[in-house]
Amino acid sequence: MSSLHDTPPATLFGIPPMAEQERMVEAMLFASAEPLTAAAMAARMPEGCDADEAVQHLRRRYQGRGVNVVRVGEAWAIRTAPDLGFLMHEEIVETRKLSRAAIETLAIIAYHQPATRAEIEEIRGVALSRGTVDQLLELDWIRFGRRRNTPGRPVTFVVTQAFLDHFGLESAHDLPGLSELRAAGLLDRRPPPGHGQGGEADEDEDGPTGQSELFED
């Protein structure tokens, strides 16, 4: 890429050169603590800019650097490189310690999403306590998804962008071990034997496995 100083801020045709667009994306991502979508960035850039392409350039530029451009769901953010965490002791945000129930519930929602309360309880074998869901909602790590098309139309839970951001995941596809778990059938919604007919399992229009609809994006 040629030096930025040689290129005028805008070309004759009004669309800034890609190097300039990359600078803009860089400035916006640096200025924001929250992930930004390419669309949100494009909305602030001059007409005709391609924020998507610019962010790809920027991402390559920051590979191996002290900060990296990372994908968070549909959005982009700059985050410090994980190996440098030791330098940031003073920046550590103390988070409330999550209960084991909350951690397991979060994992179940992430791997089975969209997941209903009944499914979470079925997997853990205990009732889901008040407060556990509330805590995860308040952390903004889960949100309500689409209602399940089964009797009672129960609400479902799915994980959020903040969840992906917190755990450094590009998308819910990248959950550790997801494909192995799926291959082993451990993410199937398998009804207890004898519950075959009339049970919730077969009216599933969402498909037999969890994780289906969310990844349609």
Partner: protein, 261 residues
């Protein structure tokens, strides 16, 4: 096991659940029967897929017995599981009865093994998730989000929680509302009695009760129903007072009324 009754929380449960949870904590820190079974299965030192469900059932039942002998009060969930495992054990041990409906012992055992494996898998997954480089602990966001070019735009905001809380607040307030009759198309028995008293004096022959319905209360079904009920109640009142007679020729036949001769 806990699937159907807990389904989509039909409400009676919260207080019970909290009580149950309090008990669960007392059972040596196990998070429910499945957790206990998972712990017991480790003593078999085999892959979860090869776990002997029969042996596991026996271990669990022994545990429950032991807890009882120590007079530890077990939460209902544990006892339900114990009953189920005792049943499963009998299904596994006895030759299958061809007449019996429902899943076979082997199917039930296989499902239990699946549940255990799945719970373990979710635990492992949760562990790996929590062990990742995490924002605010290992990886950091911009510490100084910039406020260049301050353009003050006032934006009104609300979260989904705000919205739901507001609705919950409104709806709970409703529960406090004093009882009130919300229907408007009501003809009161008092009005009917007043009207009957005035009319009945003029008529000595049998007449259908419906003919006493007031004007405007005959066409619309809801109004007619209300007026009929009120008029009938008023008629009974007048019979009791001895001023009129009622008769009906058969079931569902028209009710007739006349002034007592």
């Amino acid at each position: 096991m806990s699937e159907e009754p807990l389904h989509d929380d039909a409400t009676p449960a919260v207080a019970e659940r909290m009580a149950a949870e309090a008990l669960i904590v007392d059972v040596d820190g196990y998070e429910g029967p499945l957790d206990l079974l998972l712990t017991l299965s480790r003593s078999q030192k085999v892959d979860l897929r090869r776990v002997s469900v029969l042996q596991l059932a026996e271990q669990y039942l022994a545990f429950v017995e032991h807890a009882r002998s120590l007079r530890i009060e077990l939460a209902a969930d544990y006892l339900v599981m114990a009953a189920w495992l005792a049943y499963l054990k009998s299904r596994l041990l006895l030759p299958p009865d061809p007449a019996e409906e429902g899943p076979s012992g082997a199917e039930m055992a296989a499902h239990l093994a699946f549940q255990l494996e799945r719970l373990q898998a979710m635990r492992d997954a949760a562990g790996r998730l929590m062990g990742r480089d995490r924002l605010g602990r290992d990886v950091f966001a911009r510490g100084m989000p910039e406020d260049v070019g301050r353009s003050r735009e006032l934006r009104l905001d609300a979260t989904l929680l705000d919205l739901m809380r507001a609705y919950a607040r409104l709806r709970t307030r409703d529960e406090f509302r004093p009882y009130a009759f919300d229907r408007t198309e009501i003809y009161s028995p008092e009005a009917a009695l007043e009207r009957m008293r005035n009319l009945i004096g003029a008529q000595g022959d049998w007449a259908r009760l419906e003919s006493y319905l007031p004007e405007g209360w005959r066409a619309d079904a809801r109004r007619r129903r209300s007026a009929t009920a009120a008029t009938f109640a008023a008629a009974l009142e007048l019979v009791k007072a001895g001023s009129v007679e009622l008769r009906q020729q058969g079931s569902f036949a028209p009710i007739e009324i006349r002034r007592r001769p």
